[in-house]
């Protein structure tokens, strides 16, 4: 190694505005060689956030556009799943625990925040591991962990389950809503009206799964894909790599985020996932619809930990549609921009969201609202 790396370089080296500018210039040169306009979908909401925060969409040439994808776990959670959480939180002696912005998403009865206002014990944790402490401190209560997230957070839930079994904890159950990235990508591409020319692949999903999960998108669908880190230099460099692929008539999976992503991913985490989870036949994605094999559930041998089995009688299974003015579905499919929505920034704001894309900080609408000088 030529020299020692400093921790701060991992932040500031990948946020340097001059480097962003230098790549923007390289992108401009590449864009002149393009024979047509290109739309590049960033699958992950974390990238949408970076693009809006650093204004990367504003420094692109006219013939290169970002379109935002479905990779926001809070945004894609259908109302009926949130209703499950709401119903469970309302049960006597239940403590319902979840992560992130999930607490604010409206279901058909209200959000988990509303349930809490009505006296339900709903808690938000920083780490799934904190759930274990809450279960130990409340032996007379049933603790339900409402698990959400893509491949990134699935192994953390698996590690928690491992601890529950190891420590013989009897009062912690799971509501599993883990979803996977390649399946919705395939659905978007199978739609003949899609406008996607290439992908910026998720960062931390790929840390766990490895870049191998995207091979089909380059090979079968002929879409260039570059796995990118979350810093602004990562994203702009990935975009440059994609344009190079177009101009060199290549169609490959490349990894810009090679400091953390390998082809195989974190195999230890994958083993844990495999131990506890199997694919659901179907899962309904908010705004997108039913996608086969796109989500996980606990394996049958662990059904005693599965709140959907234990509380089966009180958890309804019917589909619940979104607010009729909300166009989150088209936004998640990359067919519409938040600004195309009639209620964006008016009836629908982060404090009073009608749709899920406005709730999560990774949602496209929330990012447009926050960084579009509307706050």
């Amino acid at each position: 190694m030529s020299r020692e790396l400093e921790l701060k370089e991992l932040y500031f080296g990948f946020r340097n505005p001059q480097t962003i500018k230098a790549y923007a210039k390289l992108i401009e040169e590449e864009s002149k060689k393009l024979t047509r306009d290109v739309n590049i979908m960033e699958v992950c909401g974390g990238h949408t956030h970076t693009i809006m925060k650093y204004g990367l969409n504003q420094i692109l040439p006219k013939n290169v556009k970002f379109i935002h994808g479905p990779g926001c776990p809070v945004c894609v959670m259908p109302k009926e799943r949130i209703d499950h959480a709401y119903i469970l939180a309302g049960q006597k002696d239940v403590i319902l625990i979840t992560l992130g912005d999930m607490i604010k998403v409206p279901g058909s009865h209200g959000s988990l925040q509303d349930a809490r206002a009505k006296g339900a014990d709903v808690r938000f944790v920083y780490s799934p591991a904190d759930t274990l402490k809450i279960a130990l401190q409340n032996p007379d209560k049933t603790v339900v962990f409402f698990a959400i997230g893509f491949e990134t957070t699935t192994p953390m839930t698996a590690a928690l389950i491992e601890q529950v079994i190891k420590n013989d904890i009897k009062n912690l159950l799971f509501h599993i809503n883990h979803v996977t990235v390649p399946e919705p990508m395939r659905v978007l591409l199978d739609d003949e009206t899609n406008k996607i020319d290439a992908f910026i692949g998720p960062a931390h999903v790929s840390v766990i799964s490895g870049s191998k999960i995207y091979d089909e998108f380059a090979q079968k669908y002929k879409k260039p894909l570059v796995v990118s880190g979350f810093e602004p230099v990562d994203v702009i460099k990935s975009l440059y790599m994609i344009l190079k692929q177009f101009n060199e008539k290549r169609c490959e999976v490349e990894v810009e985020y090679s400091r953390s992503v390998t082809k195989e991913g974190n195999t230890e985490a994958q083993k844990l996932n495999e131990k506890f989870f199997e694919r659901r036949e179907h899962f309904r994605w908010r705004g997108i619809g039913d996608i086969s094999k796109s989500a996980l559930k606990l394996r049958d041998e662990y059904s005693w930990l599965d709140v959907e089995a234990v509380y089966k009688d009180i958890l309804p299974d019917q589909k619940i549609d979104d607010h009729k003015l909300c166009i989150c579905g088209d936004i998640l499919k990359g067919k519409a921009n938040p600004k195309d929505c009639k209620v964006f920034g008016k009836a629908c704001k982060p404090q009073t969201p009608l749709g899920s894309c406005m709730v999560s900080s990774e949602g496209a609408c929330a990012a447009y609202y926050k960084y579009g000088n509307l706050l």
């Binding site: 190694m1 030529s2 020299r3 790396l5 921790l7 701060k8 370089e9 991992l10 932040y11 080296g13 990948f14 340097n16 505005p17 001059q18 480097t19 500018k21 230098a22 790549y23 210039k25 390289l26 992950c44 909401g45 974390g46 650093y54 204004g55 990779g71 809070v74 992560l99 912005d101 920083y126 780490s127 799934p128 591991a129 904190d130 959400i148 997230g149 893509f150 990134t152 957070t153 192994p155 953390m156 590690a159 491992e162 998720p202 960062a203 931390h204 999903v205 840390v207 766990i208 979350f230 230099v233 090679s258 400091r259 953390s260 974190n266 230890e268 985490a269 844990l272 999560s360 990774e362």
Partner: protein, 93 residues
């Protein structure tokens, strides 16, 4: 949800299978449950997500990227560099 923070490992506790890490001056604990036993060492850079170490950061690879950035910056002429500094002062405060 998916954001993760680069940190440096300062201590490892084998009994609890946790690491103490430095995240830009803040010390905190993270679980090693997702990492192969013995694969994380003091001084390693790691990615932390919701209280778990999700992977190591390859130092050499990061240095290579940073060197490549320097090289690209070196290719910009002085006027462009000057202009980008002025622009970045406006945009990135």
């Amino acid at each position: 949800m998916c954001l993760s923070i680069p940190s440096r490992v300062t201590k490892i506790d084998k009994t609890t299978n946790t690491a103490t890490v430095d995240t830009m001056g803040v010390s905190r604990e993270a679980s090693l449950d997702l990492m192969q036993e013995g694969s994380v060492k003091v001084g390693d850079y790691v990615l932390i997500h919701v209280g778990f170490i999700m992977n190591k950061i390859d130092k050499e690879d990061a240095l290579l990227s940073l060197e490549a950035f320097d090289e690209i910056l070196g290719r910009m002429d002085d006027d462009e560099l000057q202009q980008s500094i002025i622009d970045s002062d406006k945009c990135f405060q």
